[in-house]
Symmetry: C2
Subunit: 459 residues, 2 copies
């Protein structure tokens, strides 16, 4: 959507102070596209563009800017203008922006807001990050069960200009307990005099305020909802999560899962790769890499303790990397498959035994295939290797193949087991990082390798 | 939603042939929940439950069943009942089901359908899988630009019972070219006599029929749409993709990306982990694992060619796995970060140089940290190692640290480079599998390691 040809024009409008031109420009596209475009300007320039717009439009474009740009603008804007933007922003986004402010900024902003806004912001930003409560919006339409369809449509029509969505309305009693849901489509199709209580659907899919946001998003996805109502401990309706937020949650969780699995500690906002300084990238990534290097002490010490074995049979040293690599590959694959099956709800902890048995079968098949390749490899590559007279190359290749087969089975089971253990202890299965599996099966692999050599070759 | 206590009750209703009871049961919950529940029955039982329902309800529950269960039922159902279900299913889902039928099943089904359905199915299933055309539905409301708001509402009300969504209506000319979009909210808020052409938004976000489905889903996500219109080469409206399909596409792409990156060739339907036979799992996973084992010929040959070096300095063999592991970890991390930044559109091919420079900076920092740890590790673990008199342990540890630092830089740059090269050649960056990176940097790492030893130690 960014059209570099238009940037000079926009700058010209700014330098000519062409208020009408700027207004027209900002009306001409989807607010997301306009916000994308404005991101190419400096914060003071963006502030000047936003300044010419009426408050609702200004808030709409502001809320489509990247988080980082929003943060910079907050520091630019006078309190009055910022309060105006807060008043007109979507309720969920302004609560999230509010949480990103410093304590001083919060203290300065609150008195400038009307009481209703102030309370709404305080309430929404009081929920634990990552819960349904923290991502819901308080901006939804409610109906009383004894309205008629016609009265309900008139009420929605009256409220529509200020509401994010009017396509679902929530039927609540006087304690805001959720009785049912009625879609605008149902209302339009119903006879005008029919009562809401007779039209509404009472078969409600809802989320709890302290539920994981991912769980709420999964319900929206599973039941094809436009929005899901969120209720508190007293069964009172406190907010809704809309379909677009569900997509954002799913995308964000996917990124986090992948980062966890690949052992990156990243806590960066979207759009930030190039803007993030190299040192921050380093900090996100170094923890694991250095930690794993430290964990390598164990495998280093194991190898060191078999120095004499290696000295008498150097050919064994040549195939240590193969043991490590194959174990890492099969273990990470098994973990990926199990993590995804858990994430999609295909398997649960109750299937523990079945999963391990399935992975065991798979690992036996993989072990046979990989052992065959490795036998051929050793015999072929190491034809000219120095082999002590008491052994034949075929014997050594056979032992390496047996060790590799055992390593494949162990690594596959380890990879399948760890995500299930994580779930057992209420952790996200994706915290089981692939490099951690690699490091772990390195250790088991080396032990298997050297004990096989000792057992079968007596070295 | 599956409640195991209810299953015996349901079976009892079935064995008593209690039609009213079965009907009531199927009306009592969300169709997705009912479908989940029915999945615990055998296909003939499911068929009997569906048989008591009226056709629209039957089709609704059927279309919420897992793909595999649908496939089994198709074989159970007589042609007449199947045609009934096809008539009432959502247009996009029936086209996808149709594509899964065998040629004989297709040929037998088509004559049983009304002409309109037949043509719709043929048209929708004619698009390339993976494109916007293949996932769109033909079930949407259109309006003519010279209707009034009031006339439009009446038209939508009339069509509502049969349409998947009426919350967006598409304004088209007599050649079905898309002129604008109007939301039901806009219509409700507009003065009754105002013309659609004056109310509609002409700033349309759309997808092309041959566009990647992921691209269309990303637009729905970015612009917070309930649905996106899909147009063909003549700019005529041919379908829409709805928000719930966008979530399905995003979830599916996430799974595929993760599987590609972890080198699994899986082409399995959702919900299938336990049902998939071990041999099929093996087939999905063996290609890569065995392929990588074969690729290990190269690193095996490299190590073999340095057998004499290793023989004279066995301590070098002890730290070969560390070189391989650290390279694999840093390379996969860099690839993950770059793949995600590409997927989110944070970087593009134009940033090639900037990305490499950023990763180079990160890799230098990582190299220093990891080299320091490895130096300490070698000195500490190998105190008792046999070191030839011409070298000190500190010298050897220094050379290993230098080699490791070079390996970290090379591996990080390789990991960052490969996904960008994939994009350059129009491939999905996630095809760059993490195990492939590991295998590649193994080779470069070994060469770096042995050449450093030769250069600095003369062995």
């Amino acid at each position: 959507m960014k059209d570099p040809l238009l940037l000079p024009e926009l700058r010209e409008l700014l330098s000519n102070n062409d208020v009408e031109g700027l207004k027209k420009f900002c009306q001409a596209g989807h607010p997301t596209a306009i916000a994308d475009f404005l991101s190419a300007l400096t914060p003071p320039e963006i502030r000047r563009v936003l300044g010419v717009l009426d408050p609702p439009k200004r808030a709409e474009i502001f809320s489509n800017l990247d988080e980082e740009v929003q943060n910079e603008l907050v520091r630019e804007l006078p309190r009055r203008e910022l309060a105006d933007i807060f008043t007109h922003m979507p309720h969920d986004e302004r609560a999230q922006l509010f949480q990103r402010l410093s304590e001083e900024e919060k203290a300065s902003l609150l008195p400038a807001l009307a009481q209703a806004e102030r309370e709404d912001i305080k309430k929404l930003s009081s929920y634990e990050p990552g819960t349904a409560g923290a991502v819901m919006t308080s901006d939804y339409a409610t109906l009383s069960p004894d309205l008629t369809a016609d009265e309900a449509i008139r009420k929605l029509r009256h409220e529509a200009p200020d509401k994010e969505t009017i396509y679902y309305a929530y039927v609540v009693d006087d304690k805001r307990r959720l009785l049912g849901i009625v879609s605008l489509k149902d209302l339009i199709l119903a006879p005008p005099n029919k009562k809401i209580s007779e039209i509404m659907s009472t078969d409600i899919i809802y989320a709890r305020v302290d539920e994981d946001q991912e769980e709420a998003a999964r319900k929206i996805s599973k039941y094809d909802l436009i929005a899901i109502p969120v209720i508190n401990g007293d069964d009172a309706l406190v907010g809704i999560i809309t379909h677009d937020d569900a997509i954002d949650i799913i995308n964000q969780e996917h990124t986090e899962d992948m980062e966890k699995f690949m052992a990156i500690a990243g806590k960066h906002s979207v759009g930030a790769y190039l803007r993030t300084p190299a040192f921050r990238h380093f900090r996100n990534r170094a923890g694991w890499i250095v930690g794993l290097a430290v964990a390598g002490f164990v495998s280093g010490a194991i190898i060191q303790s078999f120095e004499d074995t290696l000295r008498s049979l150097v050919i064994l040293a040549l195939y240590m990397p193969m043991i490590a690599d194959t174990g890492g590959n099969t273990g990470s694959q098994a973990a990926t498959v199990v993590i995804q099956a858990l994430a999609r709800g295909e398997i649960s902890l109750r299937d523990f035994g079945k999963v391990l048995f399935k992975e065991f079968q798979v690992s036996l098949l993989l072990a046979v295939a990989v052992a065959a390749v490795s036998y051929i490899k050793v015999v072929f590559i190491s034809q000219d290797a120095t082999v002590p007279p008491e052994f034949t190359l075929a014997q050594i290749a056979g032992v390496i193949a047996i060790a590799l087969a055992l390593q494949v089975v162990t690594a596959t089971l380890t990879g399948a087991l760890l995500p299930m253990l994580a779930v057992r202890f209420d952790k996200d299965p994706a915290v089981v990082a692939s490099p951690a599996i690699t490091t772990l099966v390195d250790i088991t692999g080396l032990l298997i390798y050297f004990y096989c050599a000792r057992l079968f070759l007596g070295v």
